[in-house]
């Protein structure tokens, strides 16, 4: 188990991806699974910055990585406004250009890339998002 706390700001996304990507490698994940972890964590943190903290400065994101054997569980905790991303409708990724919506892609990617995803709004305490990926590239 390892934890790092990052300021909730877009310029931290690179460092957050690096932290989660390294945890994925250390858990034995490979190739596209590592890419999936980095993208899912980025999308989740972007949502936290945008929706939980609503662009306000001074918030933080606590990232805890629980390394399994060829699996990884990541918990992202914020202290912002509660939001339940699981309530968002899935975007239609087959619609044509004219009807293609701009929003909802981040949560869609998280749900598609990760094997288990749980959003927990904690009222005044913020939110916890827990997601697990199991390696698809067995050694």
């Amino acid at each position: 188990m390892r934890t790092a706390i990052f300021p909730a700001a877009f310029d931290q996304l690179d460092a957050i991806r690096l932290f989660a990507g390294q945890a994925a490698r250390d858990a034995g994940l490979e190739g596209s699974d590592i890419d999936a972890v980095e993208l899912a964590v980025d999308e989740a943190c972007s949502n936290i910055i945008e929706h939980a903290y609503q662009g306000m400065h001074g918030g933080d994101i606590e990232c805890t990585c629980d390394l399994g054997q060829n699996s990884l569980t990541i918990a992202l905790r914020d202290h912002g406004v509660p939001f339940d991303a699981s309530a968002l409708p899935f975007p239609d990724v087959t619609s044509n250009l004219a009807h293609r919506k701009l929003g909802g892609l981040g949560v869609y990617l998280i749900r598609t890339l990760m094997d288990e995803v749980r959003f927990e709004p904690l009222g005044k305490s913020g939110n916890v998002l827990t997601m697990t990926i199991r390696g698809k590239h067995p050694k």
């Binding site: 945008e50 990724v93 619609s95 293609r100 701009l102």
Partner: protein, 111 residues
């Protein structure tokens, strides 16, 4: 992220390098806008040196495509898409919204 814009005869070539996420995507939007604001709507994005792109980058591409396609034969096309980015484009159904060429020469020749 770094973007180089090169004006060719009948299109503009934007080379996007590095990482596009929520932090850097606004710069990608601005680079595309800078071209369309000059009344030029044929854009080739060379992404051969793109290391990473999140949905923030996809949104910038989508907005650009919506603007360009409003005009006669205007279009944003992608050239030399790295595998890891292709996978995310596929997942989000973006491969149906953009023509994708194996390299820049093909893209410039066919836009």
């Amino acid at each position: 992220m770094e973007i180089k814009t090169q004006r060719l005869k009948h299109c503009d070539l934007l080379s996007v390098m590095g990482k596009v996420d929520s932090y850097t995507a606004p710069d990608l939007s601005k680079a595309i806008e800078a071209v369309t604001k000059e009344g030029r709507y044929k854009i080739v994005l060379d992404v051969s040196k793109l290391e990473y792109m999140s949905s923030a980058g996809f949104r910038a591409l989508l907005v650009g495509q919506k603007v360009c396609k409003r005009y006669n034969r205007g279009e944003v096309v992608l050239a030399a898409v790295p595998t890891r980015i292709m996978e995310a484009l596929d997942l989000t159904g973006f491969t149906t919204l953009f023509k994708i060429f194996a390299d820049v020469t093909l893209a410039v020749g066919n836009i």
